[in-house]
């Protein structure tokens, strides 16, 4: 878990540096600060389980096992990217590792997770589907329709609300009618818990419980993870127009990586050197990812018009 959390942090920090030095990686939404949510949830899932993600999806991708060099190449718009350069940050997908897609139309991923869970139920595969969404998405109808469907059909879905306090610049206490998003679970007759989203073990533990329930055919659960995004809504967003320095400093005091690192060191199974070695290895992975992205070929112009339609296996294609 520590390795995944720091790999996400390293990826996002490098990406931020790339953006600030003018590398055209498109529109990006940094996940920095929320690493414990993605990693805690995905650590409780099997590789064959599904996740559906949001516009702020790099962390979910890495936590579920999408290779960082294919992600970086996608951001560079290269043919070797996860989506062959046709998706970009807001559509990174890797179905081979159960990653159903970053999805920037807020709330839609939840409905797709419900569909994947329905598929698992009909095909009797015992897979579960986790749906990440922000507290901003908690106000859109699609989320509520998804929760109701999952509840009435007892589908194996784990709804994971990452409450980072802001929908772009709109604070949660303005936009949401209840004190906790998890309160809404009652409306769909499913368990709802609020956990410290800066504590990866707390997120993991809540997810393990929800996954057990889902696999047992008892239906969906809602987990609200209280977290914080360190940077703006997207690259270039000045958070000081709607947040105070004091608030940001206090949030960084609760940094999920520093906290988990201390827990690991206290536990005695890992030494400072072990963790430093992991950090160095992550830095190298990101170095290699950037080199791979830079060296990769651009998509051929013909790619513009391929895959508009799904090719007919009988040859009546495109």
């Amino acid at each position: 878990m520590y390795e995944h959390m720091t790999l996400i942090r390293e990826f996002e920090e490098r990406l931020k540096w790339l953006v600030e030095t003018g590398v055209p990686v498109g529109a990006v939404h940094y996940y920095t600060g929320q690493e414990a949510c993605a990693v805690g949830v995905c650590a409780a899932l099997e590789p064959t389980d599904w996740i559906a993600s949001t516009h702020r999806g790099h962390g979910h991708c890495i936590a579920k096992g999408v290779e960082v060099h294919r992600m970086m190449a996608e951001l560079y718009g290269k043919a070797t990217g996860s989506n062959r350069g046709k998706g970009g940050s807001m559509h990174i997908t890797d179905v081979r590792v159960g990653m159903l897609g970053v999805n920037p139309i807020v709330g839609m991923g939840a409905t797709h997770a419900v569909g994947a869970a329905l598929s698992a139920k009909v095909r009797k595969t015992k897979q579960v589907a986790a749906s990440f969404f922000g507290e901003g998405a908690a106000s859109i109808g699609a989320i509520h329709e998804a929760m109701n469907l999952a509840a009435i059909w007892k589908l194996p879905v784990i709804f994971v609300c990452e409450n980072n306090g802001y929908a772009q610049s709109t604070p949660v206490e303005y936009a949401v009618s209840v004190p906790n998003i998890s309160d809404r679970a009652a409306a769909y007759n499913m368990p709802g818990v609020t956990v410290d989203g800066q504590d990866v073990l707390a997120v993991w533990e809540a997810t393990v419980t929800a996954v057990e329930r889902a696999r047992a055919g008892q239906g969906p659960s809602l987990i609200e993870c209280m977290t914080y995004r360190y940077y703006g809504h997207h690259q270039g967003d000045d958070t000081h127009r709607y947040r105070t320095n004091q608030e940001e400093d206090a949030a960084r005091e609760r940094d999920c990586i520093r906290r988990f690192r201390l827990q690991l060191l206290d536990g005695g199974s890992f030494s400072e050197e072990d963790l430093n070695a992991l950090d160095a290895s992550n830095r190298q992975k990101i170095d290699e990812a950037v080199s791979f992205a830079e060296a990769s070929p651009l998509p051929h112009p013909d790619e513009l018009l391929t895959q508009v339609y799904v090719a007919d296996p009988n040859g009546d294609a495109e």
Binding site: W50, A52, G81, S82, N83, R84, G85, K86, G87, H91, T93, D94, V95, L100, G101, N103, I105, M108, A110, T111, H112, A113, V114, G115, A116, A117, L118, S119, A120, K121, V122, R123, T125, A129, G141, A142, H144, E145, A146, N148, L149, I152, W153, T306, Q307, V308, Y309, V310, A311, D312, P313, D316
Partner: protein
């Protein structure tokens, strides 16, 4: 080669048979939608299969395939169509019914941003074998009452807002025969296909349907009547209006060819252009409103690629740019009729034709 018995089926029965035969063949096919069976969850009262959709096209399926594969949904188009998209990405082949095309406003993102774009923006990683069936259309001028007279929010045609989106295939069957073949083709397609089913085809669509499963290729128009003097290009029910007009025109010595478009996206330009190259005149007949419509799209493509073959301007016969009215007399005026088509043809031959 189709050898099995040929019976007369209604439009709805033909679609029902298509779905039933495909579901027998492929256990990953499921059906979802509001009241696709009806009376869900009350099986202990014997109330299953209470409805079956507006065309009764899904009636009886639940008794054969059970509630695991025939899923009545709550009223949540955004949610259950999204579930269809997610299920199609993960191993199922869902057939989702949106009761009326007027309701796509409730789930349009799932159509235009999700289903249509997944395969492309994910770099071809996922297929999306999803069928969306939806009923459309006015009652027209034949004084139907049951289910007709539904007014502005339950009578629209809305072809163009679907055909406009790259990545979607959009088919519009016009007879029981082509409804079965296009529905099976849609189910077997590995990408999203929308099937638009006119609510009031009635007797004009009833016809001989082979019992065996068969497909009609998506993306091909069909010349349903040969003629020398003018091409009448119809979509869905308007194909029957074109044929009716062609019969009346023949009596006055004008020999009209009728093209049934069948797939509005991707459009079969070749068949339409080939027809126009022989008849040298074109009237496009479309039940949708005209601004940014299929009628004008077809006209523009023929003007672009077939201008030298034309002896007269292209004419379009469409609904007006207005909401669908309620009163039967107004709705009859709203909906293109054979008389409207004949008037358009006359204008191509000079007033005395």
């Amino acid at each position: 080669m189709i050898t099995a018995a040929v019976r007369e089926l209604s439009f709805g029965q033909a679609i029902n048979e298509a779905i039933r035969q495909e579901m027998r063949r492929d256990p990953t096919i499921i059906v979802m939608g509001e009241d696709v069976a009806g009376g869900a969850g009350r099986a202990h009262l014997g109330l299953i299969d209470a409805w079956g959709g507006p065309l009764r096209a899904t009636r009886g399926l639940i008794t054969e395939f059970g509630p695991e594969r025939i899923l009545d949904t709550p009223i949540a188009e955004m949610g259950f169509l999204g579930a269809g998209v997610g299920a199609a990405m993960s191993g199922l082949r869902p057939i989702v019914e949106i009761m009326f095309v007027d309701l796509i406003g409730c789930c349009y993102d799932q159509i235009m941003n999700q289903a249509a774009k997944m395969h492309y923006m994910m770099g071809g990683q996922v297929d999306l074998p999803l069928v969306i069936r939806t009923a459309y259309g006015t009652r027209g001028g034949d004084n139907r009452t049951y289910g007709g007279g539904a007014g502005a929010q339950h009578s629209q045609t809305l072809y163009s807002v679907l055909a406009h989106i790259p990545g979607l295939k959009v088919v519009v069957p016009s007879t029981a025969y082509n409804a079965k073949g296009l529905t099976i083709a849609a189910i077997r397609d590995n990408g999203p296909v929308i099937v638009l089913e006119h609510k009031f085809l009635g007797l004009s669509a009833k016809g001989a349907v082979p019992e065996e499963p068969y497909t009609i290729p998506i993306g091909r128009a069909q010349i349903v009547r040969r003629g020398r003097d003018v091409t009448l290009c119809g979509i869905g029910r308007m194909t029957h209006i074109c044929s009716e007009a062609a019969n009346l025109l023949l009596a006055e010595g004008i020999d009209a060819e009728v093209v049934d478009v069948l797939t509005i996206s991707p459009l079969d330009e070749d068949t339409i252009l080939e027809s126009v190259s022989r008849t040298r005149r074109l009237v496009v007949v479309d039940e949708d409103t005209p601004t940014a419509s299929m009628a004008r799209d077809i006209a523009a493509r023929v003007a672009d690629k077939g201008f030298d073959d034309l002896d007269a301007p292209i004419k379009t016969v469409t609904a007006p740019d207005s909401p669908v009215p309620f009163a039967a007399v107004l709705e009859a005026h709203y909906t293109p009729s054979a008389a409207n088509v004949i008037a358009a043809v006359h204008s191509l031959f000079g007033s005395g034709a």
